[in-house]
């Protein structure tokens, strides 16, 4: 087949069952999967649309002759005729390679998705700080993710949806409404800690810690007492009583609450002697918003990995 400069050979998305081999000249290819700023060039010896030949897949590129070109077209019937006369294992090998390509493509998609999340959270957290509120323009987040990490808009959108399903944010028309900017930051920090320190982040709490904090939050919500230095204060007696009710009869001890005190999430009214009964402290103080964010993080984090690769 001969093409003159400027002629179009095919359009992206056209269904076909043939491939092209460039014999002479240069073709330029543009398509949605090709994200580079300049078109991809195909030169003599290059083959185009292998999967159209093998599986009748749509054309990957819109192809235009940049100069006079000669193209060889190989039709599916030619492939079939060759494979019919060859030993069956050759067909098996080609089928294996096709399968492996699809698996590889899917794995790459998932891997890129997983890899893009930390930078997206990092940028979202930064943009929320810049803007000083709970809302970030979606286009700004996507543009910065593209610059920093080469993340594609559709990958960003998929991640926004994952975060929406987890309750971290709401996708509005052009913006992202975040439940709590601190939660976005916590989520990023927890991922960073896991990846770089190879340990579970201190933000990830045991079931007991989470139950104690849930009790603390419940009592804070009911409390009519004013905040003390911006912190909720709950009496030890109330904590013990409510814990017994909520934690299936479990008695709250100094040891039980110790981990939360050591992590600085709850602060006793007097310094705790871990060998003495819990009543040594009259009150426990805690930052209501911080505790809510931590509980939310602990709800979300175990679901995150699964959601990302769904």
């Amino acid at each position: 087949m001969k093409l003159s400069a400027g002629d179009f050979l095919c359009l992206e998305g056209d269904f076909a069952s043939s491939l092209y081999i460039v014999i002479s000249g240069t073709l330029s290819g543009t398509g949605s999967a090709h994200t580079a700023a300049t078109p991809r060039l195909f030169e003599p010896g290059d083959i185009i649309d292998v999967f159209s030949l093998l599986e009748h897949a749509p054309r990957e590129y819109t192809l235009k002759a940049e100069e006079d070109c000669e193209i060889q077209v190989v039709e599916h019937e030619q492939l079939k005729a060759i494979l019919d006369e060859k030993p069956s294992w050759l067909r098996s090998i080609i089928e294996f390679l096709i399968r492996r390509n699809h698996i590889g493509e899917e794995n790459a998609r998932k891997s890129n998705q997983v890899q893009a999340l930390p930078s997206l959270l990092y940028l979202l957290s930064g943009i929320l700080k810049e803007q000083g509120g709970n809302t970030a323009p979606m286009a700004t987040v996507s543009a910065r993710a593209a610059r920093m990490n080469g993340t594609r808009p559709e990958e960003c959108h998929k991640l926004f949806k994952v975060l929406q399903e987890l309750g971290v944010l709401k996708i509005q028309e052009n913006s992202l409404q975040v439940q709590s900017p601190e939660l976005v930051h916590l989520l990023y920090e927890t991922l960073r800690y896991r990846a770089l320190e190879q340990k579970i982040s201190p933000n990830i709490l045991s079931m007991t810690d989470q139950m104690v904090l849930t009790v603390f939050i419940r009592l804070s919500q009911r409390s009519k007492d004013p905040l003390r230095n911006g912190l909720s204060a709950i009496s030890t007696a109330d904590l013990k009583k409510e814990s017994k009710k909520s934690m299936h009869g479990m008695t709250l001890t100094t040891r039980t609450i110790g981990a939360l005190v050591e992590k600085g999430i709850l602060t006793p009214s007097t310094s705790l002697d871990f060998h003495q009964p819990l009543d040594q402290a009259e009150f426990f103080f805690g930052d209501f918003d911080r505790i809510m964010d931590l509980l939310e993080l602990n709800r979300i984090f175990p679901l995150l990995d699964k959601k990302l690769v769904e």
Binding site: L19, I21, I23, A36, A37, I47, V50, L53, L54, Q72, V74, L79, I82, K86, P87, W89, L90, S92, I93, I94, F96, L97, I98, R100, N101, G104, E105, A108, S111, N112, Q115, P118, S119, Y122, L123, S125, G126, K129, R144, R147, M148, N149, G150, T151, R192, A195, L196
Partner: protein, 301 residues
């Protein structure tokens, strides 16, 4: 590309193996494709205790394609778990068969193989189009004035982007040369002094990559004077375009209607009400900073 020459084809080997027979050992020098015709094979890792079975093969399954075509190591031992029949396609056999197929089909097989390899390689590389833009975008979100240990910062950035550490350190030096970040100390720490400069730098590099002129560096002398005047003007001063032109005239800045249209296009004014316009202080600060750090941005220190 139409070659279909007939040559001597070396046939594959067919064998029957007993249960327990090692068909393929991971340290075999000879590369081959094993096709299971009958029975069952298992890929096992005998270096582990207890040994681990990675997968089992059923009739029709094959292994060793990547080892033969892409020179990838085969990591397991392949054992018959039942009496089985196999076909072994060795290097000579494969080579002779590939020589007998048309060149276009050979190219198809190579393309399929190459795509896999390239995809794997791409997963190990950064996807960012420009490493300096990528790093600047990262650094602009760091806390202003806070010292970050260099090694940890590079590690964090590499984790996010898969960039390679030596390249990141070179890019950090490039930012430091432009005075956008400071690197200091025996155990070096990185400090971002003005994150806004990194924002400008990212925009500047993006324009450069797209071969578009960057507006802050395209201003005429009078437009620059107007910008400086606007920076010291009350941001709640709202007036119509003729009044603004008169305002500049009074301040010895001769602007034309074309200048006004350009300034509006650059976003220096916000349409406050009807035909009234007020200066956009954020935009003006952005352009002013670009003028002030023009040399740093262009890297011609």
């Amino acid at each position: 590309m139409n070659g279909n020459s007939r040559q001597q084809v070396i046939p594959p080997t067919h064998s029957s193996v007993k249960a327990g027979f090692v068909v393929y050992s991971h340290d075999d020098q000879e590369r081959k494709i094993i096709i299971l015709d009958k029975g069952e094979l298992a890929a096992v890792d005998n270096s582990l205790t207890p040994r681990k079975v990675h997968f089992t093969m059923q009739p029709g399954d094959l292994v060793g394609v990547a080892a033969l075509l892409e020179r990838e190591p085969f990591r397991y031992d392949l054992e018959a778990t039942r009496d089985s029949e196999i076909t072994v396609v060795g290097e000579d056999c494969m080579e002779s068969e590939l020589k007998s197929i048309p060149l276009w089909l050979l190219a198809v097989i190579r393309e399929l193989s190459a795509r896999n390899r390239q995809r794997k390689e791409a997963l190990r590389r950064s996807r960012a189009a420009n490493s300096l833009v990528s790093l600047s975008e990262f650094c602009r979100h760091l806390k202003k004035g806070e010292p970050y240990p260099l090694e940890s910062l590079v590690q964090e950035f590499c984790w996010q982007t898969k960039a390679c550490a030596p390249e990141v350190k070179e890019d950090l030096k490039a930012l430091s040369r432009r005075k956008f970040v400071e690197i200091a100390g025996m155990d070096p720490v990185v400090t971002v002094t003005q994150p806004e400069l990194l924002e400008l730098f990212v925009d500047y590099l993006e324009s450069e990559a797209q071969e578009k002129p960057w507006p802050p560096l395209q201003l005429t002398l009078n437009q620059k004077k107007a910008l400086v005047r606007l920076s010291i003007t009350e941001s709640d001063l709202s007036q119509d375009p003729p009044a603004w032109l008169a305002f500049f005239q009074k301040n010895n800045i001769a602007l034309t209607a074309a200048d006004w249209i350009k300034m509006q296009g650059l976003g220096w004014f916000i349409n406050s009400k009807g035909n009234l316009f007020a200066p956009d202080s954020k935009k003006i600060e952005y352009f002013l900073l670009a003028l002030r750090y023009d040399i740093n941005l262009r890297g011609v220190l």
